[in-house]
Symmetry: C2
């Protein structure tokens, strides 16, 4: 009886697999990308690296794809989402910190005094980040992030921040995974901020998110094993830190990399420098109407040297305005 | 035509899957384990956590299993394999370092003067490790390790070091993976020493090996992107470092953990402290005949406090002599 049930189960499975297989051969895996050289180059790369008869073939285990997060997978304007979280969190915590009413930079945050907060510089930023991101367990932090994400609204679009992910990139991630690629995020943001929702939003599990880390200490108070996030940066996953972190965490050289700013330059160089098949691309924010247009002079997501290197190194430049039929899933399809 | 070929392909696949499924229901997945409470507790845990109708059920994504390496997955006597590699490597590099003939601790290593080398203490050990493990790219180091492993012989068994892996643990790793667990190594050894061969020997890919790391720097000499291993320890993955590294690298709390020494105590505690289903075990080296017998007073792999905690916390103790029908694959099956 067990065997008969198994056979029925597997026949159903096979029917599904055949349907999926037929569908996969006809459906466009990247419907939010306009037809053109960018989309073509992606599809050609994926077909070549997954076709055993192609000289570009890469065994599944080596199909490592890395993506920056802010400005590459979701919007980063008018401020990094993680900073928006930190500022809101200062306000939420203020009742238990009466001293913040007069203490910089917290007083500036509580009064929405952007100028004064910015005047506090990197040290002010660090104080706000430490006060809102450390001193708790990783689980407590994850809970804070997800509670905030479930309610906070983006100032321009009046949408949840997780609605501000780029639909073409969601399709690209799924397309790569369907072709045996392992997709990673390599973010300059702190790793646990992104891990809190990366699986739900991108289909990328926590163990495939690499990022900036805080020193985290293990202790056993009252026989209760505990990890605590300390107000001390352990590693900054930005610039040359990105290839260094890729080596430390993944231990393989990626064959596919996408970024959008000078902070991604070294990760893209490292991928481009590999002999054999590799795909290296920059998202260029060129669409002020649907998203934003910024590059060389932007304070957030500055894209200057990496844009020059893209041209010199023949990296793919994803032109948001030209290449993306749709930027966000909530747009009316056209 | 394409569709017809696909159908033929999937029918063949289904036939295979049915065979595999029938086989899996009858074959013992752990043939090198003696029947008894240890084997029973493993099988019961895996059945419970993978059965949706069992209160112990754990979704596949959360089935994280972590294993120490030295003394847990392969032999660590009479010295850690990584140290044997380092000492041999000093001899291989000696022709380009004439100064080593008179310079401690290298002169002691070249003369096989164990006493003098040990007298040089931790600082001497560090010098030998830095001289043999850093100053090159990760790829060069991987090549060095694999060249050595292909020829070096274990002094007692006159076998390749990679033959000294424990067959029961190889079966356990495969059994867990066949049940949707993601298997990780969390080693006190340096991560790239283990990554060099973990996939080939354990079926664990480099990105699932966590370990002690050296500072590794990214530079671009002559337009050639390069990572270089520096003679500076970045992170020591031992003791409390193990749960800390699990959080940093994996970002999930394991539900299955096996170690063999006091250096694994915190990793086991961290796993045991989880509410809900978890399996925590120590390999106890009790078999001087087939392997070694050592615990509380051993210099290598000392098992003292963790053994007390195992008793108090009701962790599983894997008694090598009692629980393993076969220790190494090369033994004649009995």
């Amino acid at each position: 009886m067990k065997l008969r049930r198994d056979i029925a189960y597997w026949i159903a499975t096979v029917a599904l697999v055949i349907c999926a297989s037929v569908y996969a051969q006809t459906a466009d895996p990247l419907p939010s990308w306009n037809d053109g050289s960018t989309k073509q180059s992606i599809v050609s790369f994926v077909r070549g690296t997954t076709d055993m008869s192609d000289r570009r073939f890469v065994p599944p285990a080596e199909r490592i794809a890395v993506f920056d997060n802010d400005g590459t997978l979701w919007a980063e304007q008018p401020m990094y989402t993680q900073l928006a979280f930190a500022l809101d969190r200062v306000k939420a915590l203020a009742p238990s910190h009466p001293e913040w009413r007069t203490e910089m930079p917290f007083s500036a945050v509580l009064k929405d005094d952007v100028k004064a907060f910015e005047a506090a510089g990197d040290r002010g930023l660090e104080q706000v980040i430490f006060a809102t991101h450390t001193g708790m367990t990783p689980d407590e932090f994850t809970k804070n992030v997800n509670e905030w994400l479930s309610g906070a609204r983006h100032p321009r679009f009046n949408r949840l921040y997780t609605d501000l992910v780029y639909q073409p990139m969601i399709e690209l991630l799924a397309y790569l995974r369907a072709n045996g690629f392992k997709t990673y995020i390599v973010t300059g943001g702190t790793v646990e901020f992104v891990r809190a929702w990366s699986d739900r939003v991108y289909g990328i599990p926590p163990e495939q998110v690499v990022g900036t880390t805080f020193v985290t200490k293990y202790t056993v108070p009252n026989a209760h094993p505990t990890l605590t996030r300390k107000p001390e940066v352990d590693f900054v996953d930005e610039g040359p830190g990105k290839p260094e972190a890729i080596q430390r965490f993944i231990g393989r050289r990626p064959i596919f990399a996408v970024g959008n700013s000078d902070g991604d330059q070294q990760m893209l160089e490292w991928t481009a420098g590999l002999s054999g098949a590799r795909f290296v691309a920059l998202v260029h924010h060129t669409d002020a109407e649907r998203e934003w247009a910024y590059d060389r002079s932007s304070r957030i997501g500055r894209l200057d040297k990496a844009l020059d290197e893209a041209t010199a190194g023949r990296w793919t430049v994803i032109d948001m305005k030209r290449d993306w039929r749709r930027v966000f899933a909530f747009e009316t399809a056209n």
